[in-house]
Amino acid sequence: MTWLMWRQHRKQLLFAVAALVVFGAFFVGTGRPMHDRFERAGLPGCLPAAREALVVVDLGAQPGTPGPEPTLPEGVDKPPEPTAPGVDEAALADARCVQQARAFYGDYQNVPFVGLLLLVLPMLAGMFWGAPLVARELEAGTHRLVWTQGTSRLRWATTKFGLVTLAVLVLTAVYAAMLTWWIMPVIDTSGQRFSYIFFDIHGIVVFGYVVFALALGIFAGAVTGRLLPAMSATVVGFIGVRLLVMLAARDHYMPTETRRTPNLDTSFATMRNDLNGDWIVATGAGFEGNSGYEVLTIHPIRQFWTFQAIETAIFVTLALGLLIGATYWTRRRIS
Amino acid sequence: MIGFHVSSASAVPAYMQLVEQVRRALRLGRLEPGDRLPTVREVAAEVAVNPNTVLKAYRELEHEGLVEGRPGQGTYVVRSLSGPSPQTLDRLRASLESWVDKARADGLEPEHIRAVVDSTLGSLFDVEESA
């Protein structure tokens, strides 16, 4: 049975591997220079500390500092060191790091758009590898050939679904590894790890999405028995569920925390450190004496992996349900 | 070997058609005593008919004494059909005898009778060949 599955789907597998190679070339080709630039700016060293600060000095607003920075030419990474009298060294280092990070991120603003395209990938997996699995068999009538040999339909379904899911997961692992390596500098300098694009395309959630889309495609194919309706159902179902989870459920995985930014020292201008990566759900403000403070309702960055795990679990559970449903439907199916 | 065929359009049952074809082959000398008929399977496949139909035909031929089934070996032709049947031969011999009697009564010697027979044979068969 394993041979049969391999033989039937080897073209799809080879296509997937080829696509991975193309992706790999793209990621390595564009990622190498990006990582070099990231390292030359000293960011890997200074970012972990800089991210901890809740506020940073706004270097652009210090008296005596030069005006707004012009766009940096290629290869020139360190702007002239601005001075800020009265600020301690550590805070200054953080401030410079933040400025470097902003400059870096500014040069790679296209990356989130690429991310938009990558959001679609799991759905494509469902459409082109999931939906045809049962639907193509039924449309071509070959189910009347393969289900009347000496092997049970249950075994056929579990082997087929299981092997394809396994292969897709392996491919996804390679893809996810490449992607995460490629995109981390941008995410680190964006401070938006929780954002709707970045959250969805890196980390472990992509496994959940892919396996869900695959299962959705398989289920739709088994129930409708026709390829095009199955593919359409996969698109609609995938987008619908993803949006629902993303917009309505994600916020509630863990309770929010409240954070009050420290009273600001009015001797020099400070600003909130956006590089935290916290998910800011709501903001409020207040005054104490003559200094202002902010009260933020946030999901702190340390909740990030828990969120990823919960969302992945949701989609994996949905996928399991759909796969069981597809197996059951295939077994009971009338010719 | 002879080739078999069965016509669906014919009113004659399929097995009889096969029997007829064997008989014709025997008459024309294409099959001779000692020849082995093709197996039931070979005929069924060649003609695309039910093997039982072929079996029935062979059984009929066996019943007529034309063939004989030898277990483990096949079905063999045992009798020839070429030439006239014994009854025809008897009838012809009888009328020949009465003619010879008449010729004798008219005073012909055996050599004369033979000469008349030869020349008649010659002219009759010649006429047929050139006709």
């Binding site: 049975m1 041979w3 009347t148 000496g150 009338i334 | 669906s8 496949a45 695309a48 093997p51």
Partner: protein, 295 residues
Amino acid sequence: MNGALVADGLTKRYRKTVALDRCSFAIPERSIVALVGPNGAGKSTLLHCATGLVRPTEGTLTVLGGPPGDPTLPRVGFVAQDAPLYRDFTADELLKMGVKLNREFDLPFARARLFDVGIPLDRPTDRLSGGQRAQVALCLALAKRPRLLLLDEPLASLDPLARREFLSALMDGVAEEHMTVVLSSHLLTDLERVCDHLMVLRSGQVQTLGATDELLATHKRLIGPPQPRRPKITGVEQIVSAARAERQIELLVRTNGDILDPAWDQYDVSLEDVVLAYLEPRAGEELLDLEVAGA
């Protein structure tokens, strides 16, 4: 009842249609049955029930003494309508599939058969002709060494030469193995020469099932003058079909062995006549009201 394929009240209902309607029959072992009926009569549904592709709504179907589906499929060979195959597989790869999916699969036998009918083993099946594809499908089924072979309209999309070649190959496979064969078709003419039994299906119901010899012997055409209502006809067990013309009525009847009433002219019938009669009893109510005697 005993037989290779036995049905008792077999019924299959879909949402709006009844595909099989309380069918009861017993197909004898080692017979070659022509399953004949118009499109939509239920022939495919019947064969699909026997292979476990379709679950009956009511009634039972016994296949080689067991239930249809996984338990009996190893001894049942099946070629579905239009001989579906994996189009990008070569014939050899399809045979390999057969080996992998079946406990018993005679690979050398299958390869030899394909060689005999001149089918290249290394060509993808979508580059074979329709007739060749049908041969490959038949070969796959025969390689299981089945005791029951079911063929759903195997000749339908084949040209006359391919039809002949298919039947040849089928008879070759059958002669060796002593199996029961059921071939369905909506045309009788192709099947007459190979089948020794006939089953007529109409609107999901079995109209008749019998050996072809017996059917030909027991069915006659009767022609007689127009009758007043309900005359009795001795020797007739069932009036299958009836037609009224201006000066005569014509009946196709099944006899019961007694001497037929000599008032009627009687004629022999062909198998085609029998099938048509069971498919289309074109009679008005009053003609079917004719009673029969001596039943």
